[in-house]
Symmetry: C2
Subunit: 160 residues, 2 copies
Amino acid sequence: MERNTARSNRLGIGALSEQTGCNIETIRYYERIGLLSPATRSQGGHRLYGEAQGRRLGFIRRTRELGFTLDQIRTLLKLVDGGRYTCAQVKRITVHHLGEVRRKVADLRTIGRVLEDMAATCDGGTVPKCPVIDALFDPARPAPPPGRRSPRRSTSAGLR
Amino acid sequence: MERNTARSNRLGIGALSEQTGCNIETIRYYERIGLLSPATRSQGGHRLYGEAQGRRLGFIRRTRELGFTLDQIRTLLKLVDGGRYTCAQVKRITVHHLGEVRRKVADLRTIGRVLEDMAATCDGGTVPKCPVIDALFDPARPAPPPGRRSPRRSTSAGLR
DNA sequence: CGTACAATCCGTAGCAGCTACAGGTTCAAG
DNA sequence: CTTGAACCTGTAGCTGCTACGGATTGTACG
């Protein structure tokens, strides 16, 4: 059961997976697409990881959890690898991503409001007729398509 | 330029695309996966659409805009097609989806907060050193992975 | 030392939900 | 009848993984 860590600090891919919470297949995937550099191998060809690779994978995982795309992560890592990144560069990427997150939140909140309004018109009865279906079939009703903001808010007013 | 609509109420796929705002390729895709039933064809094989298909596509598009998955839409349409759906069935799907939207909003707001905190630690200078990178490389710092809530909030405190 | 069995290997294919070709046919205006 | 836009089919690509299948290693136990 104890797979390693014994006296060698080099981990197999399974141990690294456990340590970082990152799926084995995903680790190999990251290597394949070049986010992780090719791991050193045992004689038999099994991947072995040291501390540096572990920290790098941790970075990727945390960054992913914050919703950065693999491409953004690639850019960040390239900056770090180059050794001559600036705070400004990193901030630009971060702030850009923050903007996208905020847009998504706004869109989803709009969607949520529409869904709430629609659900409220449902009595949930066994009647073979539902105002939600009607609303969805009716061209004029539901919220403006998310993506950019619209000046008028017609959601709850227009729905019932 | 006027493509049709002339005196026939049947539209070509391009006209339908314009009318609904749904990409031509996407319309064909919806047909392929069975959301739209196979269109009737001209002698030459071009798709022709009547009002009913147009309304159905509109339904799909609006429902998609609200974030329902194609599978949920398929279910809704099956209910409608069967002609014996109940308000309760529709409401169940809607409320379920609403729950997911709310979860996503919560997760994204958490992410947004972390990003804000991180960005705040950046002075945006030309210094080859950025606290954001440090935070992302440091195992202990960033926000708990979204998905379920954590009791302690260490974000802004822990980050600088 | 042999053997079993876990761990790992590689390559490929699949998921959602489209989008983008290429290389051909049809439609409609002039 | 000719031109050029619209349309056809089929396939491949995108993101970010995940899940095989069938082979090979690594290792603990007897």
